[in-house]
């Protein structure tokens, strides 16, 4: 403030002298830390440790599910006679336990078809979860397409995207045959070339550089 300086000068002419800085109590020559400083730092450090002991476990508790992987689950959905290579059969099975109806999901299952270069002893299970935002798609027999009701995503017979906003083919479930029973296992995602990768959430691209932009999560199962 220039004006306040002016006032001071006009009021009294004697220049201000600075007092020498007082030495802290108990100071001795060559001391690098005062007692006060030591106690301030020590008490703050103790407080920090006590705070961290409470906060860090709480954060870990909230974050743990990001790093935890659940138990692998397999569920029988039918016998080998139930499925043919030409069309899909809709099955409903439980993907997540303990939450009732909400934990169930729909899969479209068929036998492997030589027309698409698949092994007839294999079974293909395509998830009904749209790769756009996760709405449930349905298989339309007449068009041999999967169609999503929400935003108009369209997939062909083997689940590859042919129209609409989805960013990758439909997810699949691992399958295995035990004593003529088809069992469905963990979910996995595929690239546009149908290469299996760890499952991604809807809306995430797969393959190429996208594997780094949408990194695989530790909470998912490795692909078959």
């Amino acid at each position: 403030m220039p004006d306040s300086q002016e006032k001071n000068l006009s009021a009294e002419d004697r220049p201000r002298t600075k007092l020498p800085e007082a030495e802290p109590r108990g100071y001795f020559e060559g001391e690098s830390l005062t007692r006060r400083k030591v106690f301030v730092v020590a008490s703050q450090a103790l407080g920090g440790i006590a705070g961290a002991a409470v906060v860090l476990p709480a954060i870990g508790f909230a974050l743990a599910p990001v790093f935890e992987r659940g138990k692998e689950r397999w569920e029988a959905v039918g016998t080998t006679k139930d499925f043919v290579p030409d069309t899909y059969k809709q099955v409903v099975f439980t993907e997540t336990l303990g939450i009732g109806e909400v934990g169930k999901t729909t899969a479209y299952v068929r036998q492997g078809s030589e027309k698409y270069g698949e092994d007839p002893t294999e079974y293909i299970a395509i998830s009904s979860r749209c790769a756009h935002l996760g709405c449930p798609v349905r298989f339309v027999q007449a068009a041999e397409n999967f169609i999503c009701p929400c935003h108009g995503g369209v997939y062909d017979f083997i689940g590859k995207r042919i129209g609409g906003p989805p960013v990758r083919p439909l997810d699949r479930f691992q399958t295995r045959v035990t004593e003529n029973h088809i069992e469905l296992g963990p979910r996995y995602s595929v690239t546009n070339q149908l290469k299996a990768v760890r499952t991604r959430d809807p809306g995430e691209f797969t393959g190429g550089i996208w594997e780094y932009l949408y990194p695989p999560r530790p909470s998912t199962f490795p692909p078959p």
């Binding site: 004006d3 006032k7 599910p65 993907e95 997540t96 009732g100 935002l133 949408y214």
Partner: protein, 361 residues
């Protein structure tokens, strides 16, 4: 160079001049006790100190907390001329927040945050509980109303230029509050656990997941796992009930504190009489003591608050004439009432806000 903080300015004014004669020899009157001093009632401290505490419980508490002073300072503070109904949108938002908090607590008495029982508990609450439908309706419609009011409040702040210096931080806090309110909307939407809320949450989660690099992990954190699970609902419930309301409450406190500390702005169509900064620098150039120009600004503040607009114009003129002819100038208290403006060049604007620094630029 005038400080934008009214309270600080006032304090400086009180400290700056006593009854000492200024350079021109005119004795400046002892400043009247400021409004703040009058309201805080510090003089009563001694009265309520001792044995008569039982007589007057409110006074006893007040003398120890200054609750009345704080309350009056908040509730009867000066507002600029031109303050209108648009300025009530913030209070309206806060009222809705209080309503959401109260109805939310009542709803939580009947709600079960479990994936298998949530829907049934909501059905029971809506259909069987006395007035349950009404309370749930208040909570549901209040959520939308709160978002609407926030946007109107935000628009008022934007179009009135009230986000500018020194109130930028309050704008930032307000934006965080808007985002937190939307988080409340997102987390609360899942709780009824019908088809609509379930799928809306799935979609919201997947939108979160589609953010590059951190998105997938963020979605895992929100869902508490790779898929929607039993923990997801209770996680959303905890966020909706405890975490976010706490944050909102604290930030509303900070928001209000800044409103009280910085004051509100006048509407843009109300302009200042003249830039105070310019007036001040003139005084400095002419060599008039700082105490004088401060005195002028204090009394002009008081006058404007009392609503006599013409007096301000006169005072501004008075200050100008004083700077030009220091010998002839008398104390501002003397001239305030009688002397008529004689400076023709002073561009007076009849509408003058009380303590509005925005309009000086």
């Amino acid at each position: 160079m005038k400080s934008p903080f009214p309270s600080r300015t006032k304090k400086a004014d009180q400290a700056g001049n006593g009854a000492a004669p200024d350079e021109n020899g005119a004795v400046v009157e002892e400043p009247k006790p400021s409004r703040k001093e009058k309201l805080s009632g510090h003089k009563d401290l001694a009265v309520h100190h001792g044995g008569e505490a039982g007589k007057d419980v409110a006074g006893w508490v007040d003398s120890r907390t200054n609750a009345t002073g704080i309350f009056t300072a908040m509730m009867s503070r000066h507002v600029p001329k031109g303050t209108n109904w648009f300025y009530t949108l913030g209070s309206a938002t806060m009222f809705i927040f209080a309503m959401q908090a109260i109805t939310g607590v009542i709803l939580s008495m009947y709600y079960t945050p479990s994936a298998t029982q949530a829907y049934a508990s909501i059905t029971h609450l809506t259909n069987d509980v006395f007035l349950g439908e009404f309370v749930r309706g208040l909570h549901k419609w209040g959520a939308s109303l709160m978002i609407i009011l926030i946007f109107l409040h935000m628009a008022r702040t934007f179009f009135f230029g009230a986000y500018k210096y020194p109130r930028e931080l309050n704008w930032v806090i307000g934006v965080v509050l808007l985002i937190l309110t939307m988080v409340m909307g997102l987390t609360g939407y899942l709780l009824p656990f019908d088809q609509r809320s379930f799928w809306a949450t799935i979609v919201a989660n997947n939108i979160t997941a589609s953010g590059p690099v951190v998105g997938p992990y963020l979605a895992d954190f929100l869902r508490a796992g790779p898929d929607f699970s039993a923990t997801t609902l209770s996680r959303f419930y905890a966020l909706h009930m405890l975490v976010v309301p706490g944050l909102i409450g604290g930030l509303i406190g900070a928001h209000l504190f800044l409103v009280v500390k910085l004051g509100t702005t006048a509407p843009p169509w109300v302009r200042a009489a003249r830039p105070k900064g310019a007036q001040r620098s003139e005084a400095v150039v002419a060599g008039v003591a700082v105490a004088d120009s401060d005195e002028v600004s204090v009394s002009s503040n008081g006058v404007v608050a009392n609503g006599s607009v013409e007096a301000v114009a006169e005072e501004a003129d008075q200050a100008k004439s004083k700077t030009e002819a220091p010998e002839a100038a008398a104390g501002p208290e003397v001239t305030e009432a009688e002397s008529a403006p004689e400076e023709p060049e002073a561009p007076e604007e009849p509408e003058a806000p009380a303590d509005d620094e925005e309009t000086t630029s």
